[in-house]
């Protein structure tokens, strides 16, 4: 039987014995062993996970319930304005403490037996602690201080709130590195206002989405709407860069750099270049130039669970919440700037047709993840082949690269392990 994998490698492996490129065994997307290991070593390991926008919890007593991987956590704003992140699991017998997605409370209280916690997670009191009429009650040495909610380290960067279970991981801006920090600060440049959420359930492994958002190669080939209207083409000026650790990636392009004649030449063999398609209502794409650098598309993929994006005038965070090896939830929170005028509000609202689960340039990613998941599910020995751009975890000053995907896998290999976990 023809071994398709070896044939594919053979084509590029000319002068060395080693195949060029990166191959990932598909069991990373299907096996429970990987899922459990990454919850422990990655999501609850030495990583900073996005949990909220500060604007979601602006006032003392505000809380938001969310997840790090699949561990439930609550983000709270304390009376002194400080932010806390605690595990959303009662120290008594494990009930969910905050059952609403968000709200405002003076303190946190578990409904099961009414254990009450300060906004920072400290246990305040336990009903019937001394029993009733001398009967029952907690042991005499019961110490409230020993039974608070599990507290995480918290750091905020220009309105983005991150938390970690790790005591060892470096401070947030060191973890992100200067390039990523600078571009987070570029988007989060002034106070924001929340415009709304969208939630998407994808029947695929979350790492397929981590790959997808580090992949400028697919953007003009899968998302045909992009191409057809000149929002993004692989011929545009753009780059795909990483931080030093290659955990995170920064992908950008400039729509103003289209060259119609060159584009039709480059895309002549592709189904994805059809300029006969014009909008009946072009107001959808009539935006405003907001950033002096002329960048019209930014995808910042922050390891492990956040994508921060600017696409035209849409601004959003996308948070990955894992549900198991074969499904995850993507929570989109769209925002504008607090000082947006009415016209800008209208532009952002209209352009939100481009993004989210029904986004005319983003919906395909849900399908792309699922068609991979469907095909890899039954074959544990097969592997992918990632080499566009040269086959290394390299920065690229162009958009035909998969270097950042390889950077992601290098970090995953280090943190979770790959080959040794393949069963």
């Amino acid at each position: 039987m023809l071994n398709v994998q070896d044939t594919a490698v053979g084509k590029v492996s000319t002068d060395t014995e080693e195949p060029i490129g990166c191959r990932i065994p598909y069991s990373v997307f299907t096996d429970d062993a990987f899922y459990k290991a990454e919850q422990e070593h990655l999501f609850r390991g030495p990583t900073w996970n996005f949990v909220a926008l500060e604007a979601e919890v602006p006032n003392p007593g505000d809380f938001k319930s969310t997840f790090i991987g699949d561990t439930p956590v609550v983000v709270t704003r304390d009376k002194d304005q400080s932010l806390h992140v605690v595990v959303n699991r009662c120290a008594h017998r494990g009930a969910t403490v905050c059952r609403a997605r968000q709200g405002n409370v003076p303190h946190l209280e578990c409904v099961y037996h009414q254990w009450a916690y300060e906004l920072n997670g400290d246990l305040m009191g336990v009903p019937f602690r001394r029993g009733i009429k001398g009967k029952g009650g907690m042991p005499a040495d019961f110490d409230l201080k020993q039974h608070g909610l599990v507290k995480l380290r918290v750091e905020a960067l220009n309105g983005l709130v991150f938390a970690t279970f790790s005591q060892e991981v470096e401070p947030l801006t060191d973890y992100l590195g200067p390039l990523i920090t600078k571009h987070v600060e570029r988007i989060m440049c002034r106070p924001i206002k929340i415009l709304g959420n969208q939630r998407q359930f994808i029947h695929g492994n979350w790492k397929l989405y981590a790959e997808n958002t580090r992949d400028p190669y697919h953007a003009s080939l899968l998302h045909l709407f992009h191409n057809t209207f000149g929002l993004y083409r692989s011929t545009q000026t753009g780059e795909c860069l990483m931080d030093e650790s290659k955990r995170h990636s920064f992908l950008y392009s400039k729509a103003g750099s289209n060259d119609a004649a060159r584009d039709s030449e480059v895309y002549q063999d592709s189904r994805s270049f059809d300029t006969s398609f014009s909008l009946q209502d072009p107001s959808l794409l009539a935006g405003r130039s907001e950033f002096p650098d002329g960048i019209t598309l930014v995808i910042l993929a922050l390891y492990p669970n956040l994508i921060l994006q600017q696409i035209s005038n849409t601004l959003a965070v996308r948070q990955i919440v894992t549900h198991g090896p074969d499904s995850f939830e993507l929570v989109w929170t769209q925002f504008g700037y607090a000082d947006d005028d009415a016209e800008m509000d209208a532009i952002r609202l209209k352009q939100s047709n481009l993004i989210g689960p029904a986004g005319m340039i983003s919906m395909e990613d849900g399908e792309a993840v699922e068609i991979v998941q469907q095909a890899v599910s039954s074959d544990r020995k097969a592997r992918s082949y990632i080499a566009m751009g040269g086959g290394g975890a390299d920065d690229a000053d162009h958009l035909v690269t998969e270097g950042a995907i390889i950077g992601f896998w290098q970090n995953y290999r280090e943190m979770v392990g790959i080959e040794e976990r393949v069963s």
Binding site: T228, L284, M363
Partner: protein, 162 residues
Amino acid sequence: MDLSTLPRTELLREVTDLIALHAELIDDDQLEAWPDLFVEDCHYSVLPRENADRGLPVATIFCDSRGMLVDRIVSLRRANIFPVHHYRHIISTSRIHEVRSDAIVAHTNYLVLQTRNTGRSFVYNAGKYVDEIVFSSGKFLFRSKKAIFDTDLIDTLMVRPI
């Protein structure tokens, strides 16, 4: 025509007919005819209840002209990639919420079942239509249609109107 002078039973019949036709065109994949159920200067949005309840404006689909409805359909046919699927709308009785001289406001619950090529049907989107219906060029048409949905965890993606 002053709609408020018409008998309520007649208005309700027109409302019911229009909403049933809207569902049928979508379910039967006659999407090119769907925008014709709206006036030119219309509003159509599919809005998570979560946002509606908090007064947040983001809609999953937001169109403020018939042209944008056409563009959505052209995009679906020519550009977007999505799982092969069908919708099946189940529509409740409508309740006329308000009759003005130029418009009827009606509330209707709906359920959209989806079937993909696995052959299984599931509840894809449950919600409530808030419709503003006008009589224009001899026809009852939507001036505004909002589908406010409870099912705010959208399965895979949304390409087809609700």
